[in-house]
């Protein structure tokens, strides 16, 4: 992709001695859909607010388009934000809301009118000019908030959990809407969410964060299929994370049984974490499986059955379209390609990301 538009260099931020961001480095390319993903308190919103100019970092620099904007106040930055709670101006109608930024920039009346029409069309709310924000549904208000931001033609649109307050169906619709908007506008989106599904659906790049540290940066496929550590594996989707021993290249011992895998370069007889996604486990007859166990629970989930299988002292989470009743003896088989090996956290920094369960 194209050049770096925003660079965060060594950004640290703490509130009342509580470290929220620790020497964070991140760059965002032009025309990219970047999602900052992580649990609440991981520093994702703080990162966004630092980019938006609502917080000052304790240390570090924010570089935008080659210029240092660390000290530049929010109202002088060439980017716009869509807030979690819409933040529409309740005493103004929709047209006045959208025109707010343009009026401040002293644009002509005809220019503003054109822009309002264009923006309302873009968010599929034509004819809403004279409505008041209170009379709109949550989803509509959020569209107006997006319209209000994009009429200013920002280079970057910051979105702080914009779909957080909407119900599931609406949220899914809005996800497609946002992808469409991004493609039509051709601007950079920086999106903050704790919803992994949202992140996987929309992003070009996902930045997984936890406790002020970036855990992994990558495409949705990379994050899902090749999580770099147990935190990422656990946070993105369901997974079986098992303490194992890498015997040698392409062979790993999981719960006493030897599994073939495709990873190399970990050394011999090294303790590692193994991630196996529940949909990658194949349930077969006990003789056929690499290890065998007993089904302990069965839930119908619509698309698939969710089963727990107790085998070699570990409760395996399995998603399968084939149903095995509780109490049945089954074998577990995993394609070598679907076994993801991760190094155990070694340094102190990485220790912080250990999942507490």
């Amino acid at each position: 992709m194209s050049n770096k538009l925003i660079t965060l260099e060594n950004i640290s931020k703490s509130y009342d001695n509580h470290l929220v961001l620790d020497e964070m480095n991140l760059y965002i390319r032009e025309n990219e859909f970047v999602t900052l993903l992580g649990p609440s308190g991981c520093g994702k919103t703080t990162t966004l607010r630092i980019i938006g100019g609502f917080e000052n970092p304790d240390t570090g620099r924010v570089v935008f388009d080659g210029k240092d904007i660390t000290k530049l106040p929010a109202y002088k930055r060439q980017l716009n934000t869509v807030f979690q709670k819409y933040a529409l101006f309740t005493h103004m109608n929709i047209a006045e809301n959208i025109a707010f930024g343009l009026k401040i920039k002293n644009k002509s009346k005809s220019y503003i009118d054109d822009k309002i029409k264009y923006a309302l069309k873009l968010v599929n709310l034509e004819g809403y000019e004279n409505r008041m924000p209170d009379s709109l549904s949550g989803g509509q208000q959020q569209r107006i908030a997006i319209a209000r931001a994009i009429v200013n033609e920002p280079k970057v649109l910051l979105l702080d959990e914009p779909l957080g307050a909407l119900d599931l169906k609406l949220r899914q619709d809005m996800q497609y809407e946002l992808i469409r908007l991004k493609n039509e506008l051709g601007i950079t989106f920086i999106y903050v969410t704790h919803d992994q599904e949202e992140a996987l659906t929309m992003s070009d790049t996902i930045v997984v964060m936890n406790q002020g540290y970036i855990q992994q940066i990558g495409t949705p496929e990379m994050i899902y299929n090749e999580p770099e550590n147990a935190f990422v594996a656990d946070f993105i989707g369901d997974s079986n994370i098992i303490d194992s021993i890498m015997i040698r290249d392409e062979l790993v011992e999981i719960l006493g049984a030897k599994f073939a895998c495709v990873d190399t370069g970990f050394g011999e007889n090294v303790h590692v974490d193994v991630v196996i996604r529940p949909e990658d486990i194949e349930l077969v007859s006990p003789e056929e499986g690499t290890i065998s166990g007993v089904v302990t629970s069965l839930i119908f989930k619509g698309v698939h059955y969710e089963m727990d299988v107790m085998a070699n002292g570990y409760e395996w989470l399995v998603h399968s379209t084939k149903m095995f009743p509780v109490g049945e003896k089954v074998g577990i088989k995993v394609d070598p390609f679907n076994i993801q090996i991760m190094n155990k956290p070694a340094s102190e920094d990485e220790e912080a990301v250990q999942i507490e369960e």
């Binding site: 938006g52 609502f54 106040p73 929010a74 109202y75 002088k76 716009n80 934000t81 807030f83 979690q84 709670k85 819409y86 933040a87 529409l88 101006f89 309740t90 005493h91 707010f100 930024g101 401040i104 920039k105 008041m132 209170d134 009379s135 908030a145 209000r148 931001a149 200013n152």
Partner: protein, 260 residues
């Protein structure tokens, strides 16, 4: 049956509350000077009232005091309310407590302490001292009526305005202020009403020669009640009543306008 009882109960409450005012208003139209005899309907006490220059002077003083003290205390109170909301929780509770004390404090105590304060700093008693006193006791009422409005604000609205290019100053006046305006306005009316209404504090902080309506009435009544005073009291009552009704319907009417 229970319904009828409820109505009777309510009616009784209102009779006890408003009977004195009603008597006063009726007497203000009584031709006879006697308080026990109805001598026919008349406006003469009202016309006499309006031609009494010392009372008219007191009326002007009262209104000037009310307007000035309401405006100044609204200005100070609104700023204070904004500042208090942005405090941390402990400090905020403390500040609100301090704000509430003057309202709960006996007026006579407030009056006397203000008087002592003015003497201590050698301030000459007169219009200024009453004005200062009125501003002082009005501020808490303004804070109290503005505060809920500020709490209802979407904290992101201010940031959104700045995000769209408004300087902090512009963001406040274009986005925050219109939203808290109903609270500011009812605070203003409340302060105005409290100022017109006040007797005790005014009594202790006024100098010789300056009188508000309430202190004027007090000094007249000591000499013997003139029916002009009934007329004056009736007028004050009606004015305050109208203001109070305004205060109470205003926030609601604001909402209705929005729904259009």
């Amino acid at each position: 049956m229970a319904n009828v009882l409820k109505r009777i109960y309510i009616a009784l409450i209102f009779i006890f509350l408003y009977a004195p005012m009603l008597v006063l208003i009726v007497l203000s139209f009584n031709k006879s000077k006697s308080r026990a005899k109805w001598g026919g309907f008349t406006f003469q006490w009202y016309t006499k009232l309006l031609s009494d220059s010392s009372i008219m002077e007191a009326l002007v003083t009262t209104l000037m005091l009310a307007v000035l003290s309401a405006l100044i205390s609204t200005f100070i109170g609104t700023i204070a309310a904004i500042a208090i909301t942005s405090l941390k929780k402990g400090a905020r509770t403390l500040m609100m407590g301090i704000t509430n004390i003057p309202m709960l404090n006996a007026e006579i105590v407030t009056g006397i302490s203000l008087m002592l304060l003015f003497i201590f700093f050698n301030v000459k008693f007169g219009f200024t001292t009453i004005l200062l006193a009125h501003i002082t006791f009005n501020i808490p009422y303004v804070i109290l009526s503005v505060m809920p409005r500020i709490k209802q604000l979407n904290p992101s609205a201010y940031e959104a305005a700045m995000d769209l290019g408004a300087s902090p100053f512009k963001a406040f006046f274009k986005v925050v202020f219109p939203d808290i305006l109903p609270g500011v306005f009812s605070g203003l009316l409340m302060a105005f009403t409290m100022s017109i209404d006040d007797f005790i504090i005014t009594h202790f902080t006024k100098g010789a020669g300056v009188d508000t309506l309430s202190t004027k009435i007090y000094s007249q009544v000591r000499k013997g009640i003139d029916p002009k005073m009934y007329a004056l009291s009736s007028l004050i009552f009606v004015t305050v009543l109208v203001l109070l009704i305004l205060i109470n319907i205003l926030p609601g009417s604001g909402k209705k306008a929005k729904e259009k």
